[in-house]
Symmetry: none
Subunit: 446 residues, 2 copies
């Protein structure tokens, strides 16, 4: 079955509301093995809604409408559908009772327009709304279209849609069974990577991306790349068995860049796992990122096991006073320098008494940049592991200066967490080919 999701509402076309429903329903349909070929949004205009219905009927089997089920004159979805099929609307007695009860329970009187929401084509099945007054419908119109067409309607309010979906899903499933469609489940897995661009990743995986079971596709996320693996099979286990070997091969090829699997796979969670495993603690000294690295380190539940103290030293005086950065270093090399980063890392490690110290000093912009030290430049210092725990390694990184301040800060924090991750993995070596955008600078203690 091919599906099309149609959102009705001028507020969407004005951009006042983002259509999150289309993505949500698409994921649900993918799980049922139903392909979605189009999303369409149309305003509260009868003629345009009708033209959209006409086209959807011609190219899709499952038409899922969201929005336009409210009590006002602008809410036209059900009327437009009935009008297209030239079918009269009747009032659903259960829906009508729900609406009356809804208002009685609130000590209010319903208005006549509220009862409009109980209208449906006679042979449509209502989908009850447990939290609002707008029921949906499931309507099999195959006898009218001569194709296996079904229509479902849901309110535009996401919370109502989510609660009503269960019933809609059941009706869709029983329809799939009735059609004797051998139903296939789609299983998807997301692998997260950092420090490799989409195109290089694509080249490394090109042979795997040519396959179709599972399909392998890269996505660019916020300062990371995700690889989506998806396989269809009769059961979830069969689909997973198709995914597993390809998943392992991808991780093997890109191990250095691999952060983890699924929504919770972030650089901070990868760092936390390594710290938990090794029983190590870390302290951060930040300047330009202002506490963002510290905040991300503590986003992981249980982070109090490895974080005791972090400091944000914005001024030179505080770098000296809190972290013991020498005034000569600040004067000779500047606050944004590998030397200062090294001393900050050593200073915070001593101050907090942790195994590892990490530091950041850079220029987040939009002002404060110079030709020598432009906006987007950051030095990240690390110390604590290796033969001499007090020896710091420093990484210099550049972030695009056109980004907004918050985005520059986010990129800085990504690089810092990744640097820490590689440090914990013992994989921190200068390697122009692997991380060409970020040449490592190895510094002896100054």
């Amino acid at each position: 079955m091919k599906a099309e999701i149609i959102a009705v509402g001028t507020e969407l076309l004005l951009g006042d509301v983002v259509n999150t429903n289309a993505a949500w329903i698409s994921r649900e349909l993918a799980g049922l093995g139903i392909d979605v070929f189009y999303h369409v949004t149309v305003g509260d205009n009868p003629a345009r809604i009708k033209s959209v219905i006409e086209q959807a009927v011609s190219r899709s089997d499952v038409l899922i409408f969201t929005g336009g089920l409210g009590p006002t004159e602008d809410d036209l979805t059900v009327a437009a559908i009935a009008d297209y099929f030239n079918v009269p609307l009747v009032s659903d007695p259960d829906s009508e009772k729900t609406i009356r009860d809804f208002f009685i329970a609130r000590g209010m009187k319903h208005s006549p327009s509220n009862l409009k929401q109980a209208l449906r084509p006679e042979d449509a099945v209502p989908i009850p709304n447990p939290v609002g007054t707008a029921p949906g419908i499931f309507w099999d119109v195959s006898a009218r279209t001569g194709k296996p067409t079904v229509i479902l309607t849901f309110p535009g309010v996401p919370k109502e849609l989510y609660l009503m979906w269960e019933r809609g899903r059941e009706l869709l499933l029983s329809r799939q069974e009735k059609d004797g469609e051998s139903r296939q489940v789609l299983v998807t897995r997301f692998l997260h990577f950092f420090g490799i661009g989409e195109s290089l990743l694509g080249e490394r995986l090109s042979d795997l991306m040519a396959g179709d079971s599972p399909t392998v596709a890269p996505y660019v996320g916020r300062s990371e790349v995700r690889v989506r693996l998806a396989a269809k099979a009769a059961t979830e286990n069969e689909a997973l068995a198709l995914i597993e070997p390809v998943r392992n091969e991808i991780i093997r090829r890109l191990e250095k860049h691999y952060i983890g699997e699924g929504e919770s796979a972030t650089l901070e969670s990868a760092v936390a796992s390594l710290l938990f495993d090794k029983g190590l603690s870390v302290a951060a000294a930040e300047s330009c990122t202002g506490g963002l690295v510290s905040s991300r380190l503590t986003d992981v539940p249980g982070s109090s096991e490895y974080t005791l103290l972090n400091v944000v030293t914005y001024s030179n005086e505080q770098k000296t006073q809190m972290l013991g950065v020498s005034p000569e270093t600040l004067e000779t090399f500047g606050a944004v320098s590998p030397q200062t980063a090294a001393e900050m890392a050593r200073g915070v490690r001593r101050l907090a008494g942790t195994d590892i110290g990490i530091s950041l000093t850079g220029i987040a912009g939009p002002t404060g940049g110079t030709d020598d030290k432009p906006v987007g430049l950051v030095y990240i210092g690390l110390c604590g592991l290796g033969a001499d725990a007090d020896e710091a390694v420093v990484k210099k990184t550049m972030v695009n200066h056109n980004y907004k301040r918050e985005d520059v800060k986010h990129w800085f924090s990504q690089y810092a967490l990744n640097f820490l991750r590689l440090y914990l993995m013992g994989r921190l070596k200068p390697d122009r080919e692997e991380t060409p955008e970020s040449p490592e600078v190895n510094l002896k203690p100054v």
Copy 2:
């Protein structure tokens, strides 16, 4: 001019990515007085992309494409458009140079597929991409369609689109002028509020919401409420003149909750303005928020004027060692207590030598809660203003424990920044009616 926004990408139809671009572009077009009648999403399939182009040409004048401009084989947008109009693609020398330079600057070699991104129809105007390798195009195809059709393409990555839009907007404006269209501009303004719910706000503004020039509508955002004001007129100034008195009346009625106007109106920017105005500095001592308040305080450009040092003391030992919180206080009342919050605020103010000290101690979850001190509980301490600068006031706040850890932290930081804002405004009084969910606790120094 009637516009249609077409998103290309199977990831959208799978629900892996939410199409936020359509809403963003729609708002921009509304500002130009261009009506948007349809949003369409189609997958990476040449035949279906072509059918969508055909339909869009037939019903719309301005076709705006997002996505499908990447370097891989799946990126088909420009090729499909050229194919539909039966026009060959040529390589744009500037775009090609940008792509080569992009890789050279990163010490990498471009792959041949990257150069595909420089291709465009010969008479299309490139829209440069300042942060990526995919340029867009502005292509006037009116000679080919016999109607005033223009096509614009943008990458699907929102940050790239936002940066490139300025050029696309200019090209659209000059096209509108050329067509001599009598254009009505729609001007919208968003006012941001914190500490008041949508329904209470709606009651306070119900008379203004009944008007239609400007229209007044509340939207619920992430832990805040926005009010949208919109008016149409021949000129921007005329529209602004309609908005102005209503805007002022809304702010007058809800002054205590008003954060500011427009996208940059955040609690941190409201706090920063007050600090700049008064020439005051602040230092933060955080526990449960792990540096998030510090990071937000430094999200504002120029924040080095008021932030010198912030500390994250996660352990009890560090609260004592760094901030001088007495071990007796920690033992008697616990780390999450108004007494500890007060001592942390005083301690960080002394340590940093700032005018104001702010502290947070609470339970971000998901674990660590007890019956007495559940997940979602936070104490926020402040000191530095008033007759006795060392006297701390402490606010107790509860956040819904069903939120995820990151969301709990975000709410905590919202309350802390709002508490600081009210403190700086001299408006920090217990007021059960105004903020029923957050009873203030005023503490003498312990």
